[in-house]
């Protein structure tokens, strides 16, 4: 997805994992993904540079669709669609 599309995507769940370092954001993403339905979009906020690389890999393993990342000041917004 382009940055413009990401900004306008309907997000079902937002996970703020800025208060935790690796592997915290992954654990929070795992917990949160169970609360949304298939096809729903989730965003993960992380201040961790590594999480931006980790989440797409996690998506690939879990079968979720990684949509893209937006860079905000001091953190990342990482988008994915549940399978």
């Amino acid at each position: 997805m382009t940055a413009e599309e990401l900004k306008n995507v309907a997000v079902s769940k937002s996970v703020d994992a800025r208060g935790t370092a690796c592997p915290g954001p992954l654990l929070e993403a795992k917990k949160a993904i169970g609360t949304i339905g298939a096809g729903d979009v989730m965003e993960v906020l992380s201040a961790d540079e590594g999480t931006r690389i980790d989440i797409p890999k996690w998506c690939a393993k879990q079968g979720h669709e990684y949509l893209g990342t937006l860079e905000e000041s001091g953190y990342f917004k990482i988008y994915l669609r549940k399978k």
């Binding site: 370092a21 592997p23 915290g24 393993k61 879990q62």
Partner: protein
Amino acid sequence: MSQETVNQLQELREEIDQIKNKVTGLENNRLDQLSIAIIAGDFDKILATMIIALAAAAQDTKVKLFFSFWSLSALRDRNKKAKGKDIISRMFGMMLPKEKNRLKLSRMNMGGMGPRMIKSLMKKQNVMSLDRMFSEAAGLGIEITVCEMSMNLMGFKKEELIDYPGLRFAGAATFVAEAAESSFQFFIS
């Protein structure tokens, strides 16, 4: 094509098929499972073990941790006492760390200053504490097995170990048998 080339091609094809069958067989035998044997009892090595274990569990990989030798200190509960120890066991018990928060660093321990510095950095940078990692591990169903032989050797008793759901006591054969089913195996020493 000469008859010879045709025969050679045929042989190659058969070999490829055999290899394919072997690979499929191997793939089907491996579970989405990670086995880690931990020998080291240093704070940094236990921390690294738990981070990898949690990252694997977060992607639904089954994780099996096998704690042996020095790593057993990480599973001790300092508020629990065990009775009926002989003198050598008591000495070991006294000299070894009484819980995970008292483990030393494998490098730059500096008489206990290193671990204090690392812990304050961890807090500052929002890295989970070892206590929190163990409780997350329990929640994710990460399995912990205690090597019974090394526990006896070091004079530890079951009664002085932490409460962890499904804590098991077993031997090296259990680790080897389960590690053979895992798709990856690590050794932390």
